[in-house]
C-alpha cells in the first residue's frame, strides 16, 4: 500500500516547512499582546494610559490651597475648577516651588465665559464688557474666587 510514496513525503515536507516558516515568522513579527483582548495589540492600552497628565485636577490643587477653597465656597464660582481659569498646572503640582503659575489677565479671562452672546443660556450671567467696564480689568471690582460685589449700599437698600 505504501509503495512509491516518496513524492508524497516530499510534498508533505515542503508543506511542513511552509507552515513552520509561517508560524515562526508570525511569532517573530506579530506583537506578543496582539489578540489579548481582541483583534488589536493589547499592550497599546497600557501605552496610551501611560501618557503624562497636564491638568492636575482640582482635588490636587485643593490639597494645598485650602484658603482658596474656603473663599470659593462663598460664591458662585465654587463649581468652577481651578484649572479652568489658571490653566494646566500638573507641573506646578509636581514641583510647586520652581514651576509657578502665570499671572492672569482678568479682562480677557472673565470675558471668555461672561461676554454676552445670544446663544448662551439666558440664565447665565453675561455682560457686554465694553459697556460694562470700559476695558477695566474685571478684578478691579470683582474678586474672581468670590465674584459677587457685596457693598454696604446694596445690602441696606434691599433692592434686587
Amino acid at each position: 500500500m505504501f509503495k512509491n510514496i516518496e513524492h508524497l513525503v516530499r510534498l508533505a515536507v515542503v508543506m511542513m516547512i511552509g507552515v513552520l516558516g509561517f508560524v515562526i515568522l508570525r511569532a517573530a513579527v506579530v506583537p506578543h499582546s496582539f489578540g489579548q483582548y481582541g483583534h488589536y495589540r493589547g499592550a497599546a492600552i497600557g501605552e496610551i494610559a501611560s501618557r503624562p497628565v497636564a491638568f492636575a485636577g482640582h482635588e490636587t490643587c485643593e490639597a494645598c490651597h485650602t484658603d482658596v477653597v474656603e473663599q470659593k465656597k462663598l460664591g458662585k464660582h465654587v463649581v468652577v475648577s481651578c484649572e479652568a481659569c489658571h490653566g494646566a498646572l500638573a507641573k506646578h503640582a509636581d514641583d510647586p516651588s520652581s514651576v509657578l503659575p502665570k499671572k492672569l489677565d482678568t479682562a480677557i479671562l472673565c470675558a471668555r465665559c461672561h461676554e454676552a452672546n445670544g446663544a448662551k443660556p439666558k440664565g447665565f450671567p453675561q455682560v457686554a464688557t465694553a459697556e460694562h467696564s470700559g476695558g477695566l480689568a474685571c478684578d478691579t471690582c470683582h474678586q474672581p474666587h468670590h465674584p459677587k460685589i457685596e457693598t454696604a449700599e446694596i445690602k441696606t437698600e434691599g433692592k434686587k
Binding site: 506578543h32 499592550a43 494610559a49 497636564a54 485636577g57
Partner: protein
C-alpha cells in the same frame, strides 16, 4: 529529510508552542485599574453649555492636539423660527477661542459640544484593516499609533467626523476620552475645566455614578441613533435640528 511519524509528532508540539507564543500577551494595563470594571461614557447637558471653548483649549493642551485639528469642538446652532431642518451651524476654530457675539434675531441659538461618541458598535474600528483602532474592554475607542498605517478608512467611516489624520505622526487621531487620566482616577481634561458642568464623564458600570439617575429622569438623546452605532455620549436637552 525524511519525515517519519516520529519526527512529525516531534514537530507538531513545536508548532503548537510557537502558536502559544504568538497568542500569549503580557498584560500592561495601568496599575490598580481594572479594565473590566468600567464602561465609560459622557453626558453633555446642552442647556448648560456657554460656548466658552475651555474644553477645546484644555483638550489641545492635555493631548498635544495640533493647531487646526480638534478632538473635541463646539458648534453654535442658529435655528431660524421654523427651519428646523436647515440649521445654520458654525464652529470658528472649533470654538477654541469662543464665539463672536451673535445678534439675537428671534431664532433659536445654542451650543453643542462634540467629541468622539465612543460607540459600542463603532463603524471606525470595524473598517480598520490592521487592527490599529479598537474599543478597549472598558468602552473607549482608541488608536494604536504604532500600528496605524494612516490609510484613513476609519476617518471616512466615522459618521460623526470625529477623526483626523495627525500631521505630526501621519496616523489617525481622535479623542481618547483622556484615557491616560481616567485610568488614574481623574476626569477628562474637558470635563475638568468645564465651568458650568455641561460635560460630565460617566462610568456606566459604576452603580453609584449619578449618570444612572440622570438617564432615568431626563429626556436624553444620542447623535444619529439611526446609525445604530451604540454611541455613548448622551445629550440632554438636544434640539431636533442637531446633526
Amino acid at each position: 529529510m525524511e519525515i517519519t511519524r516520529r519526527r512529525l509528532l516531534v514537530l507538531l508540539p513545536a508548532a503548537a508552542v510557537a502558536w502559544k507564543y504568538v497568542l500569549a500577551g503580557t498584560p500592561e494595563g495601568a496599575p490598580n485599574y481594572e479594565l473590566t470594571k468600567h464602561w465609560w461614557a459622557m453626558l453633555i447637558d446642552i442647556p448648560k453649555c456657554i460656548g466658552c471653548g475651555s474644553c477645546v483649549r484644555a483638550c489641545a493642551e492635555e493631548n498635544d492636539v495640533p493647531e487646526g485639528y480638534y478632538r473635541t469642538w463646539i458648534e453654535r446652532y442658529h435655528v431660524a423660527d421654523w427651519k428646523i431642518e436647515r440649521p445654520e451651524v458654525e464652529s470658528p476654530d472649533g470654538g477654541k477661542y469662543g464665539f463672536p457675539p451673535h445678534a439675537d434675531d428671534g431664532g433659536k441659538n445654542f451650543f453643542v459640544p462634540k467629541l468622539c461618541n465612543h460607540c459600542a458598535d463603532s463603524p471606525c474600528t470595524q473598517v480598520c484593516p490592521v487592527g490599529a483602532t479598537f474599543i478597549s474592554p472598558d468602552g473607549v475607542v482608541l488608536v494604536d499609533k504604532s500600528y496605524c498605517l494612516g490609510c484613513r478608512y476609519c476617518i471616512q467611516a466615522c459618521p460623526y467626523g470625529c477623526r483626523f489624520l495627525n500631521p505630526k505622526t501621519n496616523t489617525a487621531d481622535k479623542c481618547t476620552l483622556c484615557y491616560h487620566r481616567i485610568t488614574k482616577g481623574l476626569t477628562t481634561a474637558c470635563c475638568e475645566v468645564c465651568p458650568t458642568g455641561a460635560r460630565q464623564l460617566a462610568d456606566l458600570k459604576n452603580p453609584k455614578d449619578p449618570i444612572h439617575e440622570f438617564l432615568k429622569t431626563h429626556a436624553v438623546q444620542i447623535l444619529k441613533p439611526y446609525m445604530a452605532t451604540g454611541a455613548k455620549v448622551f445629550y440632554n436637552g438636544m434640539d431636533g435640528s442637531v446633526r
